[in-house]
Symmetry: D2
Subunit: 135 residues, 4 copies
């Protein structure tokens, strides 16, 4: 397993009239979590896309344990749970400043060759970087 954490501060425009971080905005926090997890490995999701490998999301699950509020600094911990082949599996845990878990979730993404319009294997260098964590 490989894990990485990143902090995100809740923006005003991300809250809703209940005063909570709107439930639909967690998906974007997961996105930031996994992009930064990839960056922490010394790679860049943007460069993967520039080379024609996209990673659309196949499924998402999310459990909302406690609300997050405006201006909260949340810690998003992203874990890559399996060595990726054609799919990548990420899980997420979000905690607030009190260290309470407020949300956890997971997503499955697929490596997709944009030119050839079909799924492909995970890029070699990503597998190499991750291999030491999956022995």
């Amino acid at each position: 397993m490989y894990s990485n954490s990143v902090e995100i501060r809740v923006r005003y425009g991300e809250t809703d009239k209940m005063g909570y971080l709107y439930y639909g905005n967690y998906a974007q926090y997961y996105e930031v979590g996994r992009v930064e997890a990839i960056r922490s490995l010394g790679l860049s999701y943007k460069e993967l896309e520039d080379r024609g490998i996209m990673m659309p999301v196949l499924d998402m699950q999310s459990t909302f344990v406690k609300p997050a509020y405006y201006d909260d600094v949340l810690k998003v911990t992203t874990t890559i749970t399996e060595l990726p082949k054609v799919r990548a599996f990420f899980s997420y845990e979000i905690t607030n400043a009190n260290n309470d878990i407020i949300n956890y979730g997971k997503t499955t993404l697929i490596f997709f060759d944009w030119e050839r319009r079909k799924p492909c294997r995970a890029p070699e260098e990503l597998v190499e970087k991750l291999s030491p964590f999956f022995i």
Copy 2:
């Protein structure tokens, strides 16, 4: 079971650089789906909130089958799968103009008394309206 459908056209600002409806925006389409399902019963979610009953989301699952694109008119079919007690269960199916299923999902929400800061039973009139569909 009780079902209702509503159409939503994909906005430019809801797409991402892949040209797809961004995966994080489906949660908002689910929200519109369930609010309109409640309205189709002759009730108003807004009025529930005005009376102090909020419905935060406890969990969400979403499966992305095919992409949706800018300007697509999507049909969101929302189904209330159980007669609500303290929780409400909604499932969603989203189809495009070709009648392809592009996404399906479900959410659990809880009825929450805002003043007393605790869960409560589903409002009487909602249960009454739904009862004929759960015999």
Copy 3:
């Protein structure tokens, strides 16, 4: 001048903790307004893009007169104020159910040939459709 109106219902996810439609979301309402204004002329902005003509926004001005609230049905009236050459000028007026003006604004967009990476003239058929309104 050419005008067209469209109704948009405020979504929960578009509100903020003040209970207002978040100020940043008006830009998306303007977008819907101008896309539907183009559609009302018998054209499609999506088809313009499919043919390689994009319309990025050059500037925007917005005045927030009164708040809009969750579930409000807003009327967005979009006016094309000049016959477009290389730029298109849209103005917007948003009213609520009481017919109060809650917001007005304007945007300048440019016609942009995506392949050649430079500005271009407004498509012939758009100018033709609009000409009768600018005599």
Copy 4:
């Protein structure tokens, strides 16, 4: 005048099908800019709200000079251009990693006493903190 800068990385979900940071999302970047400007003075906008002083936006102007792209790290420089009385005036300049100005804008906000439902004077401590910069 008082200025402060903050960096924001463009999220995938903030781009649109053109591959640009969607024009409607700049308002949220301005929001982050002014909130961090207030924080850099040793104050907290959240605490102002907790004490019943809200700051709704009255008007916004935005000029889009160049596009911003996915994963760009943008620098948002926020300037408080006048010592606030009942209104606060912010201007913004956004630059990319090449130090190109990609966007500039300004907003007017009003101090609003939420309980009494009317405009009020800027909080004493904000005026004190800012005074040295407006001599």
